[in-house]
Symmetry: D2
Subunit: 332 residues, 4 copies
Amino acid sequence: MAEPPNREQSDGCHADETLLRSMIAQLSNWGRWGVDDQRGTLNFIGPAQILAARECIRTGEVVSMTLPYDSAGPQIGGIGRNNPQLFPLATGTDYLAGRQDPLPGSWGPARGMGYADDYLVTPTQVGTQWDSLAHVFFDGCMYNGRSAAEVDSHGARHNGIENYHGRLVSRGVLLDIPRLLGIDHLAEGTPITVELLEAACEQQAVEVRTGDALVVRTGFLEHRRSDWGDFGRGGDAPGLSLHTLPWLHEREVAAVATDTWGVEVRPNEIGFFQPFHIVGLTHMGLAIGEIFDLEAIARASAADGHYDFFFCADPLPLTGGIGSPVSALAIR
Amino acid sequence: MAEPPNREQSDGCHADETLLRSMIAQLSNWGRWGVDDQRGTLNFIGPAQILAARECIRTGEVVSMTLPYDSAGPQIGGIGRNNPQLFPLATGTDYLAGRQDPLPGSWGPARGMGYADDYLVTPTQVGTQWDSLAHVFFDGCMYNGRSAAEVDSHGARHNGIENYHGRLVSRGVLLDIPRLLGIDHLAEGTPITVELLEAACEQQAVEVRTGDALVVRTGFLEHRRSDWGDFGRGGDAPGLSLHTLPWLHEREVAAVATDTWGVEVRPNEIGFFQPFHIVGLTHMGLAIGEIFDLEAIARASAADGHYDFFFCADPLPLTGGIGSPVSALAIR
Amino acid sequence: MAEPPNREQSDGCHADETLLRSMIAQLSNWGRWGVDDQRGTLNFIGPAQILAARECIRTGEVVSMTLPYDSAGPQIGGIGRNNPQLFPLATGTDYLAGRQDPLPGSWGPARGMGYADDYLVTPTQVGTQWDSLAHVFFDGCMYNGRSAAEVDSHGARHNGIENYHGRLVSRGVLLDIPRLLGIDHLAEGTPITVELLEAACEQQAVEVRTGDALVVRTGFLEHRRSDWGDFGRGGDAPGLSLHTLPWLHEREVAAVATDTWGVEVRPNEIGFFQPFHIVGLTHMGLAIGEIFDLEAIARASAADGHYDFFFCADPLPLTGGIGSPVSALAIR
Amino acid sequence: MAEPPNREQSDGCHADETLLRSMIAQLSNWGRWGVDDQRGTLNFIGPAQILAARECIRTGEVVSMTLPYDSAGPQIGGIGRNNPQLFPLATGTDYLAGRQDPLPGSWGPARGMGYADDYLVTPTQVGTQWDSLAHVFFDGCMYNGRSAAEVDSHGARHNGIENYHGRLVSRGVLLDIPRLLGIDHLAEGTPITVELLEAACEQQAVEVRTGDALVVRTGFLEHRRSDWGDFGRGGDAPGLSLHTLPWLHEREVAAVATDTWGVEVRPNEIGFFQPFHIVGLTHMGLAIGEIFDLEAIARASAADGHYDFFFCADPLPLTGGIGSPVSALAIR
């Protein structure tokens, strides 16, 4: 384990730190799946969960929960992230101008043929995405007690996003909080509490089980869609309360995803930055998905009353990656 | 339709051109699903196919068919493509050195917290990938008669890879040709014929149906895995014969994927570059997947004798993208 | 010469087009230095000019005219350009965390040694820069009648910025227009006329000669420095009048640079976009420098009354590049 | 000063370490120009040096010492560096295909006008380049005792390459060692000693003075130009001996540049990696230039017998950059 950086105790947050450390002590999954584990709560997903998820495929409908990756995305500046850029290596306009000869054997435009090709330059956490277990550190460590030193300029030696690849398939459950409350979207700063989660389960006639991917809608992405503001750079947002973590822990939820930039409510509820991440991601090893676009799945779920589905939102195996964009699908 | 670039007739390939144009006339799906269609043969996938695919989930096992995206990949130079690069925006080593203060509210290392973040720079066709229907042109056009001019420095105005998003879920069928032949891998230049496909179907007790994703193993990726050579830049390879296209057309196959860089056999069978792409991708609108890693699925299929599975290999919605990396999963 | 794209005549700009074409006919340098020339007015610079420039080195002072390349730059969104990004390949924090072993022979941190390295991702026209002669087209052509088709996804086959390399050394002359007028900066939309240029020459006791690099200060960059607004994406700006081109042509100026994003006044004076570029860059082959930071050279020139200097602002030989960032120096 | 990483003493290199530390003690310039200095030996360049350099402009000839930045460069894989890539934002082929309307006011192709634009993606040390004083660490520190911790994912807080901007103008002296020896190029592993430097000064009738940029030719770049091999990734090379540092120190040389990837001879002369960098760059603060293309300047110098020139090789002010590509010019 790494030497932690110096920590100066702020008097005002003594109680906050006590709370945080108490939650860590209570909820930590370090060692639970072995000292070498790099998958955290995705270990809750096994064949039984996938077979159960299969039963949620009822109509053969596929609903995307991924926001398109393009210049209309939410990364409008700040913290070094830009919206994704595609750069061409070859274009149709080149081809039309006769610029693609010679292809091998002079088989390009002179014989009718041409092609296009391109490059992608993007933050891994640019839009709909999973955080890897290498994303957040506390007291010098990431998930399972690995030193933060293992995340350097060459990427994450452990806990990289490749460890999630092939594992983000399970039963998905949508809890639509604005629908529960009869509003369009939750306001910035609104915490989603255990009470709200349970009320949504009841209203939406769905239960949360071991290994589920819990998808919580706030409506906030839809609210900001045409005018992102600080959505992509850490602004205030509704989101899960820190105090839902024991509930998620008890239910053995494998993953939680929301339609906000950071899953948890902002401003934060205690005097630590992103405490839900500190306890949930770093210590529970909970898979966290962000900037999911839940408009379509909310509509589909409301239409037929089924709030569970076959959840397939598997990240790219970017070796050592801190996150990954993802095609997130609800198959119903 | 765009004005095609000048084409100079080569005497020697008159018969080849006649063949090519005859196949195009016979197999083209332009207009079949409307003049605005951008999905081609993925239209063969509908709720019925997905419900049928559900029945292929038998044990709850998930098998990845994606090659890791990293510096060990096959892009070792040539045609402008490099292996993917991940560049850090924030690292654990920065955090340990106390470099992440101030986070908001000075909540960084001084209170124990830190984070990592990164950027991805990659060709979209760097490894396991789908070609979009904007990837190949013939006679000035791409799929469905759209002008190649629509693919410019801003990407593909039509037929971009985002049109495949949410559509690459169906029943998958593996045909393991080396297993059929009792060899490790097919040699460069070996065409996979209709006879081989049918023999594999028979040996492997599986049939190909409307809307299927046909996954054809050559063993070639495994053969080159530790020493790629020209694998990533258009070298000779085994692959599907041009003459399998009528068979694929008749069976209404939605997608075909192989463990080679370009699906079709190289050197090409006639005097055109990548004629399977010209006829299949550009005119049939057939979804083409490349550089799938089929070692694990071949082993799993051989073990229990099931060669069909729930196929989920859905691309990222990269607006205007020519291709996309993909998490390709066989759920069994 | 390439086939030009279709041009639809707008009734209202018939007179404008007549003017534009008349200027082109009068000022074009196509063929002047041979049909293969790719340097345009930089041909005015020869040994005599450099020897004359040498005489402008009077005190041994070096003054930078380059804006730093970093996230504080003017590219705050729009037209696909972002401010430059530096991504690390290796950092001091990695090294301190012991992450750089093994260097060859285990000679890294275990023996005290470490290193840093990085990648640059930047638009070539991100800040202080030269346009290449491949930057602007008219009637299907770029400078010297080369087809626009020569500028494709592989860069500029002709007229790329590498043709300027080793040529942007000459006598520089600063004309400080706000100083002439006794104001801080020119307002958006203010054209700098021949009369103003001549008055500045007189007030500032300097004459413009064959082969000079003419540096014209508007004060606009300084005005916008802390709040760029639309500076980097084509907003209104003061700048050179189209009607200064005959004057520049007659004086055989080699290059002109300003402290604005596009040299010429915006909104444009006639019904064509950037007509100074169309006539000056595309037809005269005039070297155009943009976003030069002239605050320091203005101060130095005012202090000792010398408005000429040894001008060294030589671009990188980026083969096929459309522009280049540059270290622009006034050596006095 | 930072806490150094652990150093394990290797028995075999005790004498080497004694030598290294003795040279550091003897040659260090830390503090010489103040505790805040970030320019090192470039402080030797002042107005007097520039005025003296002016006298080296004899004929008005400009000779480039920069290798073109393109796909033919030496970065053929290894240590994360690729050759530079230019990606288009806009092309002539797009324009010819009518794809650039609307420009503002529909002033694009419909009125005859179009443009090209591009992006540069490159390691900063890809070819002809300066190392910044943030490039190499020893015992936890970089030049002037700054902690290596100051070089993180955001770049170099101190000693970044922007500190060299506007300073790399001085008198240049070429010492052509292969010419001295009557050979084409020095072989890998050949150290250039003080004796060779002095013999070259004598043969080439030039003396080295305070503030000079010393340019040492090995011929090695020319030897490898068409077949780079391991040139760009740390292979064996001829180069300056570690033991020339006292000579350079005594002469108050401001900068040293060679036509090799790393200035110093490889394999290294003692049991430390790149000891010339450890002593010269990190402790003396000596400006180090690499991969200079010296073929043309060698020919020009031999032709007229003048081995000194006006040296202008000023880096881009890439804020926090570890290195910079450069237009390196000899003005004669």
